[in-house]
């Protein structure tokens, strides 16, 4: 029997894996993937809380839908940015993109 705890454990793991990836990876694409992980962990939380705590309502599910849509938009913008960064720096290493320092 799956309880709410199981789901929350999974989403927490995803969240911290995402954070870890965001902080340690050097490749911008990987960073983007880490962000997706974080977003989806939140998504899982929404759906799970909705399902287990307020089964008669749908807000959480709708929220998840919205987030999926926005994540798609965000991913496309991010990839466009990354392409431009590649053209400018001929690299997508995050260390190389440090023009905005002091």
């Amino acid at each position: 029997m799956l309880t709410i705890t199981h789901f929350l454990i999974v989403s927490t793991l995803m969240f911290f894996i995402g954070i870890y990836g965001f902080l340690t990876r050097r490749n911008l694409i990987t960073l983007l993937m880490s962000i997706e992980l974080i977003i989806n962990s939140v998504n899982i939380n929404f759906v799970v809380f909705n399902r287990y705590l307020y089964p008669g309502q749908l807000q959480g599910q709708f929220f998840a839908m919205f987030i999926i849509a926005i994540a798609a938009a965000e991913a496309s913008v991010a990839i466009a940015l990354i392409i431009n960064i590649y053209r400018r720096f001929t690299s997508i290493e995050v260390d190389d993109v440090d023009e905005m320092k002091y």
């Binding site: 965001f22 902080l23 960073l31 993109v97 440090d98 905005m100 320092k101």
Partner: protein, 640 residues
């Protein structure tokens, strides 16, 4: 009766100013001139119509002229009590001033079409003239002292712009700055006076402050400060503003220099309208002076008397014809101030008030005429100096004739306008103060002398060598001369006592032959003296001036007042006040600020490495911050 339209008298010049000022360089210059003149003509007609309606169509049943608020709008509401309006107030003096200003301004506009022809900045000139007319009209119809102050400053600005019209000429620039600074300094007094007065009365509106029946007026009371009541102080300070604009001694120094401006400007601003603003101000506040600050009136009378004598003496020695006229203006305004100073309130007592306004009216006519005539002469011989003129009566017949009328008017020869108004002033002075009265007799003689010195020097005397034969000015210039000459000749017959009096109840001033006849004789003596000395080229005048020696050079150098001012400002003020203050500013104020800036720049240099540009550093900081916050919250939760 409906006077709502009077707002247009004021607004038309403003609209003209916007038109010619903003789009002036898109038209041909002459178009700007015509727009300006046509606009002023409309205002002129409206003013005449208003005056006719106000004075001749019976409205009030009391037999006195009412104060009407023709238009009013709230301009600024600072609090429930402190409300500043803009509006149009009509009473005898403001209606009279509307007529004077629009008449002279219209004449000057018309005259300038000829005089300024072909000058660079023709459109700019007309724009400034309209701006000036607008501000002056706004000043005289002010419903409250604050509105008056606003327009007072606007008048100052337009005067500054017009004096500095020939801005390529360093002397014009210096003169405009001088005029602005001196009048601005005086206006500081005016402002403080306004604040004091409104503090004690709780009102800005003339209908409260200057109406002897209003509760505000009767309940004016104030503390005493240094031997005089605070109201007297405030009225003196307000007079200081008036003295600055009206160039009363010792704030007169800017007016002679203001002659650097084009001659029509001198006629309009520095003879007929703006410089009488001070007289108008005192007249406007007159009930307050008469009932609450009689000491201030005495001071005004003496300052007026001293200025009239002092300026008349200087005028005898000057060679620049415009400067002679400038000093004569000072002297005549001194007369007006004196008349106000010796006046009482109500009925026959208020003779001085009525005489002052009468003289203001006639003076505007003949002084504008004198200046325009001088402009016509300057136009013909291209010089300002008397010793480069002479024998011009053959070449400039119209100018000669009109100038003669103006000289007779200012000298006080009957039946010309100046005689009647000056006579009233002398009568008023006779009843009040014999010393001032005899002073004015003397000044009347000197006035006749220097005016005819000018007249004989320009139109008779020896003919000089001219570069080209002088010729009479074009019609645009001679028509205003003729019209103003008619004004100077006949305005004296206006029964002014029926229109403008201190308490608005008409009365019939008597002729005092015992005072009038000696004054005419004195004036004739002055003319005769001038005739003997300047009719032909003679050495007598030179000998006289040489025998006076240092006295003469003292007067010729205008009693060294300018030098005194320079000494006070450069040696005393600059050294004792400005330099220490400048030192304090540089070494204390600036240094503090520099130190603060230095500390900040050093600190930021040290910590700028935090801004590494590395995305992941920022994210790291962000995440650790969040984690710390979460830990703190959890810790607090477990505690509670």
């Amino acid at each position: 009766m409906n006077y709502y339209y009077t707002i247009w008298i004021v607004l038309i010049p403003f609209i003209v100013f916007l038109l010619t000022g903003l789009f002036g360089n898109r038209f041909k210059p002459i178009v700007s001139g015509i727009i300006g003149t046509a606009g002023l003509f409309t205002s002129f007609i409206l003013s005449i119509y208003t005056a006719w309606k106000y004075f001749f169509v019976p409205g009030g049943e009391t037999g006195s002229f009412d104060t009407l608020i023709a238009f009013k709008t709230t301009w600024l509401q600072v609090s429930d009590k402190l409300i500043i309006d803009l509006g149009v107030l009509l009473d005898p003096i403001s209606v009279m001033m509307l007529v004077v200003i629009t008449t002279v301004s219209f004449m000057v506009h018309f005259y300038s079409l000829g005089y300024m022809k072909g000058e660079r900045g023709f459109a700019r000139f007309f724009a400034f003239l309209s701006l000036f007319t607008f501000s002056m009209l706004g000043l005289v119809v002010a419903t409250n002292i604050f509105q008056m102050y606003i327009f007072w400053e606007l008048v100052g600005v337009s005067s500054y712009l017009l004096i500095g019209f020939y801005y390529e000429r360093p002397s014009a620039v210096a003169a405009s700055k001088k005029a602005f600074i001196v009048t601005r300094f005086a206006d500081l007094g005016f402002l403080i006076g306004i604040l004091l007065l409104s503090y004690y009365t709780g009102s800005f509106n003339f209908s409260d402050i200057t109406n002897p029946q209003s509760p505000v007026f009767t309940s004016i009371s104030s503390v005493s400060f240094m031997g005089m009541s605070a109201i007297t102080w405030s009225m003196l300070l307000i007079f200081m503003g008036g003295a600055g604009k009206s160039a009363m001694f010792p704030l007169h120094i800017w007016l002679p220099d203001a002659m650097e401006g084009p001659t029509p400007v001198s006629a309009l601003i520095h003879a007929a309208t703006m410089v009488v603003a001070g007289v108008y101000l005192v007249a406007r506040m007159f009930p307050v002076y008469a009932f609450h600050a009689p000491e201030a009136l005495t001071i005004i009378a003496w300052i007026g008397g001293i200025t009239s004598l002092f300026a008349a003496v200087i005028a005898c020695t000057q060679y620049d014809i415009k400067r002679v006229l400038a000093y004569s203006t000072l002297s005549q305004i001194g007369y007006m101030m004196l008349a106000l100073g010796v006046s009482g309130y109500g009925g026959e007592e208020g003779l001085g008030y009525m005489a002052s306004m009468f003289h203001l009216f006639t003076h505007a006519m003949f002084k504008a005429l004198l200046f325009l005539g001088a402009g016509s002469v300057i136009h013909a011989v291209h010089s300002n100096y008397m010793y480069e003129m002479g024998g011009l009566r053959k070449y400039l017949p119209i100018t000669h004739f009109t100038f003669l009328i103006a000289c007779l008017a200012i000298a006080g020869i009957p039946p010309f306008a100046g005689f009647f108004s000056k006579d009233e002033i002398l009568v008023a002075a006779w009843y009040h103060n014999r010393l001032l009265f005899s002073l004015e007799y003397l000044v009347a003689g000197i006035t006749a002398f220097y005016m005819f010195r000018l007249y004989f020097g320009i139109f008779w005397n020896k003919e000089r060598h001219y570069h080209h034969t002088p010729h009479e000015s074009p019609l645009t210039m001679t028509i205003p001369l003729i019209l103003l000459a008619a004004g100077s000749a006949f305005t004296g017959f206006i029964p002014f006592g029926s229109f403008v009096t201190s308490d608005r109840v008409p009365f019939e001033p008597e002729m005092h032959l015992s005072i009038a006849i000696p004054s005419v004789i004195i004036a004739l003596a002055g003319i005769l003296l001038a005739y003997v000395l300047y009719r032909k080229e003679s050495m007598v005048s030179k000998k006289v001036s040489a025998s006076l020696g240092s006295m003469y050079s003292l007067v010729y150098n205008k009693f060294y007042i300018d030098e005194v001012y320079l000494f006070v400002t450069k040696r005393i003020l600059f050294n004792l006040v400005s330099r220490p203050v400048a030192w304090f500013d540089r070494h204390v104020v600036d240094e503090t600020m520099n130190r603060i800036a230095w500390v900040i720049s050093v600190t930021s240099n040290k910590i700028k490495g935090l801004q590494s540009g590395q995305l992941q550093h920022y994210a790291m900081v962000f995440v650790s911050g969040t984690v710390i916050l979460v830990l703190i919250i959890l810790y607090n939760l477990t505690l509670s």
